[in-house]
Symmetry: C2
Subunit: 374 residues, 2 copies
């Protein structure tokens, strides 16, 4: 399909409209052919000028990416940090926030640790200020509920390869009216990631530069699938997707604890993934290797300074009951293989209990977590 | 396929190595998940500092894109312009070039007009200067021969959707040692399009940010196909691809002239596409519409100020003898439909003569232009 045709314009307009519904906002959505990091960069280059003061919330590798990005664009960066595995509280933000902060950058869920940050609470702290709230929700959208317009999230960022279940290569963001206004005066350079130019093109059903047509067609199909799961309503399908991830996450957490493992994100675990601390003396890379070699299953090692110390099990998008229970079974065998004392079946039983408790609710609209997501 | 696995690293390393061969250079190649414009932006943001003087060659819409990009990044831009449909001569460059120009930005082939610029001649003018030569060859690679290292092209840029025949969404560029050195001191901000960071990641078989895995797998397959066409040698396959485009372009030009049409790019037509001036009083958009509605064939209207005034027929990548002869047939009928006096078969006959003359040569290695490219 050529991208300068009526056929493609209809597809592109539909995808942009569906993404608004998926994100849950009235704000215009802009799409880029890029990784999610591209939309993160757009949120810095379009909303700031060199020398601007910004606040960055960081408790993991992706918080640090905001820090690097803001510094790259000449911002004066003030950090609000918490240790890996923990969250940053609205109180911490309250103490650091100053009227001159032009924007606050944060993650909805921090994929390197599995923590869900309190976007709602932090949005409340910012209410009435001129500070724009920018949320990287690349793993958050479709695994966590965001009331984007109600809370006042100015920019929320998503990617194609996470909960919307297609291959990587597309990034998108929804942008508030006051963020659009801010761009009229900001001075940092942007071209490929120029949000205002892309918004104008999008209104005509086009992208400014040749888009990844194949991925946009795939995204359209994925959103149709969610609409179908929601009985014709995309927002309902998205809510089912979130509940599915929440159930899989709760099953995994219960199983890990029943097997004597320590969860890495204790205070505020998200549903996108569960990070589990590697047992003492064990390199989590070895655990990932056993999963791969024995079960052809991909679980992730820790990133950056967490490498070797934790492993991460994903729950977003297509992962369903069957995947979750299977991975928990594999986890039990893996623990035996690395020499841990394990009561085989203890993790599985704990997960079954969680699923049974949630079942009435999560299967209401057609069994999304009963194994039919794939 | 997950992008942080040994399997993907092997694929990625192979694709980067094959791209070097395809481009025909010893320089390292960097790949981005983005449109070609992303790599154009990288060539500006990585190689310049605000206030730097640069030279931009422009004779069409994509030359103007270089101008906008360089201005976006605060460069002092000196233009060397020619009218649409013409080329810029090495003499024109010679007259404008000053030692303080840090870079010269140009197209290999200007897709908006079908013109091929004289990269070799301009490279000769720059020889011995400190001015880096940056060539957008998004439609040039695979349709024109570039002696990248011999001529001293510092950055050459390609995209996935052109001669390498896969869907859009990937951009790549080959970068010379002196361009890498230049980046040590340049000051413009770059993050997603940071060439040095991406080169480091590439050396480990990785991309800095989540890449478009599906398109990279497709690119690998396309390059394998070219290798196979070249009897096991990728460079030979690429040369056949170029010769195929050249034959299709020559057939199309001969046909257009036999049908009394005026070629838009007379002095230096490229092989990527042929731009044909719309007959007097006819909107070229109407011609494109007839192609689409009657023959389900996509030909392109003019871009920007050329809209309505010319139409463009592509020859790159998969387009082969069958496509070319078929489109010429459709062109004859289209001309009849818009009320032109046409001797049916005159364009086809002229194209046949061109093909017959070239045949001995272009089918030598397995008939690339004998219809088996698809």
């Amino acid at each position: 399909m050529h991208h300068r045709t009526a056929e493609f314009r209809a597809l592109y307009s539909k995808v942009l409209a569906d993404l608004k519904t998926f994100v849950g906002t009235k704000n215009d959505v802009v799409l880029f052919t890029a990784s999610g990091t591209g939309a993160m960069e757009a949120s810095v280059s379009n909303l700031t000028s060199p020398g601007d003061k910004v606040l960055v919330l960081s408790a993991g590798k992706f918080g640090e990416r905001w820090e690097s990005l803001a510094k790259t664009y000449g911002c004066q960066v003030e950090m609000v940090r918490s240790p890996y595995g923990e969250t940053v509280t609205p109180q911490q933000i309250q103490e650091k926030l100053k009227p001159e902060h032009v924007a606050l950058y944060m993650q909805g869920t921090e994929s390197s640790t599995g923590v869900r940050h309190d976007v709602e609470g932090i949005a409340r702290v910012l209410k009435g200020s001129e500070t724009l709230l920018v949320v990287d929700a690349i793993t958050g959208l479709g695994t966590t509920t965001f009331d984007v317009d109600g809370w006042g999230v100015d920019v929320i960022i998503g990617g194609s390869q996470k909960a919307v279940m297609i291959p990587p290569g597309l990034a998108y963001c929804a942008v508030s009216e006051r963020a659009w206004r801010r761009m009229e005066s900001t001075k940092n350079p942007r071209y490929y990631f120029d949000l205002r130019k892309e918004r104008k093109s999008g209104a005509k059903g086009e992208s400014s530069y040749t888009p990844s047509t194949a991925l946009i067609a795939a995204l359209s199909t994925a959103l149709d699938y969610l609409r179908e799961q929601g009985g014709g309503d995309l927002a309902t399908g998205r809510d089912l997707l979130i509940r599915n991830a929440e159930t899989a996450a709760a099953m995994t957490r219960a199983a890990a604890q029943a097997l004597g493992l320590k969860l890495f994100a204790v205070s505020s675990p998200g549903a996108a993934l569960t990070a589990i601390a590697s047992p003492d003396g064990i390199d989590s890379g070895d655990i990932a290797k056993i999963f791969r070699n024995r079960f052809a299953a991909v679980i992730a090692n820790g990133q950056g300074e967490m490498k070797g110390q934790l492993f991460r099990i994903a729950h977003l998008g297509l992962y369903d009951y069957l995947d979750t229970i299977a991975i928990i079974g594999a986890l039990e065998h893996t623990l035996v293989e690395i020499g841990r004392k394990v009561e085989l079946g203890a993790g599985l039983r704990a997960a079954q209990m969680v699923f049974a408790q949630s079942r009435g609710q999560v299967t209401r609209h057609g069994g999304l977590s009963a194994g039919n997501m794939a």
